[in-house]
């Protein structure tokens, strides 16, 4: 229950962050870049979408999915095993994708984007919470 509350909180932070980026992109405005000044370089690079879908939209969908599933798991919406499986797979997939995007910023674009890193850390923190919960429950 506590871990779901934390995961829900993190996903809500992710939703607000991606909504901010989507709004800025639609308005053709540069987002505030609290650390460094290379956010636009990363956000406007050729790696800013997967196929035709912008990464901010994919991120928003990911965070919305996580928030809904954590709510389902707390409320007890059946089938719980299915939701739990989707939940863990989504966070695993998100963590790997975040690693790839962080590598792209580091080695290929050679610029750091505050919002992209914040999103990556949010997803990795979700992964750490899931792993810790599994360890505490002696599942791993």
């Amino acid at each position: 229950m506590t871990s779901y509350a934390l995961l829900f909180t993190l996903s809500a932070i992710g939703i607000s962050e991606t909504m901010y980026l989507i709004r800025k992109r639609i308005a053709s405005q540069k987002p505030v870049c609290p650390v460094g000044d290379n956010c636009s370089l990363v956000l406007e690079s050729k790696y800013n979408k997967i196929f035709v879908i912008p990464n901010d939209i994919l991120g928003l969908l990911f965070y919305i999915t996580i928030s809904f599933i954590s709510a389902f798991l707390v409320i007890g919406v059946e089938p719980l095993v299915f939701w739990d499986f989707i939940f863990k797979i989504s966070i695993l997939f998100g963590s790997i994708l975040s690693l790839v995007f962080t590598y792209i910023q580091w080695r290929i674009i050679k610029a750091w984007c505050f919002w992209c890193l914040m999103s990556a850390f949010t997803i990795w923190l979700m992964g750490i919470i899931i792993m810790s919960t599994l360890l505490i429950n002696n599942i791993i």
Partner: protein, 125 residues
């Protein structure tokens, strides 16, 4: 209010409302235990349905605050909702927390009222 502080307050309050909504949906009956006995007689519908309605209202307020959509309306409804919560739950150990949330909601509402509306209010004076 400084813009960054406003967004911190908005997202924080949104998470609170969303999560409370989820918890009420999980167990509406136990949340009805916070109500004062006199409230039961005033309700036009069964207590469980009233609590489910409260949960949905909380989630809608939370979603609007989180997505930054009609924030001032969401904050206004949140504040009114909290006034009702304070009235129907009486003074308990957690009243002070609800007062904190009410003031946070009012701060958000005051800071996010559209300029057009403020101008209208000024013109009417």
């Amino acid at each position: 209010m400084k813009k960054t502080a406003f967004h911190f307050l908005r997202v924080g309050l949104a998470i609170t409302f969303l999560w409370i909504g989820v918890l009420i949906l999980k167990n509406p009956e136990s949340w009805s235990g916070y109500l004062q006995p006199w409230v039961y007689g005033l309700l036009p519908l069964p207590i469980e349905q009233a609590m489910l309605g409260t949960a949905i209202l909380d989630i809608v307020i939370g979603a609007m605050l989180l997505l930054d959509v009609f924030t001032w309306i969401a904050a206004l409804v949140a504040s009114l909702h909290l006034v009702i919560v304070l009235t129907v739950s009486g003074i308990t150990d957690i009243t002070v927390r609800d007062i904190g949330l009410l003031v946070a909601g009012l701060a958000l509402m005051i800071d996010s009222i559209p300029q057009k509306m403020l101008n209208k209010i000024k013109l009417n004076k």
